[in-house]
């Protein structure tokens, strides 16, 4: 589904991501972990095109993405959430989702004739469905800035889904959640996979990563130091040393 070949990004003298190769198969939940500053978020920004690549190529369903601007990549089917929540605070919950309907199907539906054929009603139905899925239906007309932290996280996820992604990049979705909320998040992630969405999960919370992922890659200093199933990664001594620190057992 998604393939990174020798992806490199330098900031001045710092090699934030250095020759990263990654293959995310269709329909899987792929975990990307690593210590702070290991280049995880940069990788997401490179995949979505917020930063240009210094070197390497990114393939999505066999197509090169390197030169496409961010919004075009979304239209190809790559959506994301942000580590630090970035909602449109002065838009309502409903509008946040409305703005995000940018998939080719939605765009076609907004053309002049399609509108008369009920395109708008279908867009509304879809938003209603997403609100239901994220448990935000009762807050539809609230300004996003007025939501609680957990609700904002859910809205971010819903907003990414509004673009009908094939690949979803989740950048630390569990940060700041309690274990009950993490449980709900796990349910949602599994439900999404069941719908056929491939997921790249970047996460610190091991409870979540080890529980849902099919495969995990570990980054350190911008390089991949290990890849394998959750069990293999947990057993890998290199990972334990780099990630958990020397003192961990």
């Amino acid at each position: 589904m998604l393939e990174l070949k020798g992806v490199t990004r330098h900031f001045g003298g710092v090699r934030a991501v250095d020759g990263l190769d990654l293959l995310v198969p269709e329909g899987c939940i792929f975990g990307l972990i690593g210590p702070n500053g290991s280049g995880k978020s940069t990788t997401v920004n490179l995949i979505t095109g917020l930063f240009p690549l210094t070197a390497g190529t990114i393939l999505f369903r066999g197509e090169r993405l390197d030169d496409l601007p961010t919004h075009r990549r979304l239209q190809k089917g790559i959506a994301r959430t942000f580590q630090n929540i970035r909602l449109f605070g002065r838009l309502t919950v409903w509008q946040n989702l409305w703005v995000a309907q940018n998939s080719p199907e939605d765009r076609a539906r907004r053309s002049f004739f399609a509108r008369w054929l009920g395109g708008r009603r279908r867009a509304r139905d879809e938003i209603a469905h997403l609100l239901e899925f994220s448990g935000l239906a009762h807050k539809a007309d609230e300004f996003a800035a007025n939501l609680s932290f957990g609700e904002q996280r859910r809205l971010e996820l819903a907003r990414a889904l509004a673009a009908r992604p094939r690949l979803l990049l989740l950048d630390e979705p569990a940060a700041g959640m309690n274990s009950e909320e993490i449980g709900q998040l796990r349910e949602r992630i599994l439900a999404l996979r069941a719908r056929g969405i491939t997921i790249l999960l970047i996460e610190h919370v091991m409870e979540l990563v080890m529980g849902v992922t099919d495969r995990i890659a570990v980054l350190n200093f911008g390089q991949k130091i290990a890849e394998g199933s959750p069990a293999e990664i947990q057993a890998d001594p290199v990972v334990r040393k780099a990630y958990l620190g020397g003192g961990a057992t």
Binding site: A79, R90, N96
Partner: protein, 287 residues
Amino acid sequence: MDFYFGLIQLIGVHTLLGLSAYIVLLTGQVSLAQAAFYAIGAYVSGMLTVLAEWHIVPALAVGGLAGAAAACAVGFPALRVKGLMLVIATLAFGEGVRIFFFNFDYQIAKGDIKVGPLGGEGFRQIRFFPENGWTTFDVMLFIWLFVVLVMALLWWFDRSRYGAVLRAVGEDEVAAQSVGVNLTAVKVSAMTVGGAIAGIAGCLYAHYTTHIEHASFNVLVATFAIAYPIVGGLQSVFGTLAAVVFVQGFLVEGLRELGDWRNLLFGALIVLAMNLRPQGLFWRRGA
């Protein structure tokens, strides 16, 4: 009574000028180039009615298009910069256009006098309205026809998905990009619509004052253009209208009887207004 009609004309033209900045401000861009589009609309349409003897309506359309074209052309390079850099880049563009008109001569003989723009001396006798028997009241209606049209258009934008997209870009460009919004298209389109509105406003300005010159389009005018929506608040188009009424109707015209104190109060009241209502005067409870 003519005085009130005249004042309503003035408020109408300034509202259009403010609305031209309003739509651009929604996308989070502070543009000081609106005075330039205003100038372009004024000069182009003035030349059409005076030199080519066109009717005001087609001249107004061409003036609006010229403003839009200039704004579209500025929109692309202006996208390279943000925030303060954009403010100053657009300010530089505005000053550039003003200096262009300062150096721009194009006169033809008409009867025993020469008409047309003459550099630093300006462009006089743009008298389409009085020469064709339009009363102050007619002109007021004509101006407000456009104010209502533009306000209705922008109000409809605000309720449509396009308006939500504009505001989303204004809130967070990175997030907007990441949910698939084409930043270039949105910003340039907002700039272009703003340019068209400013061009129309400029055309109306030129014809109701009958005389324009480079100094009528200086930085202060550009600042007023963004001041109206900011003072009024960006929640709706009515904020801009409220601010124009506050500034032109109250601070400028209403306080005229105060004589000497008027201009001192002008600045002080703007400072006070922004301290008391930083979201703008016209802002309902909510976010």
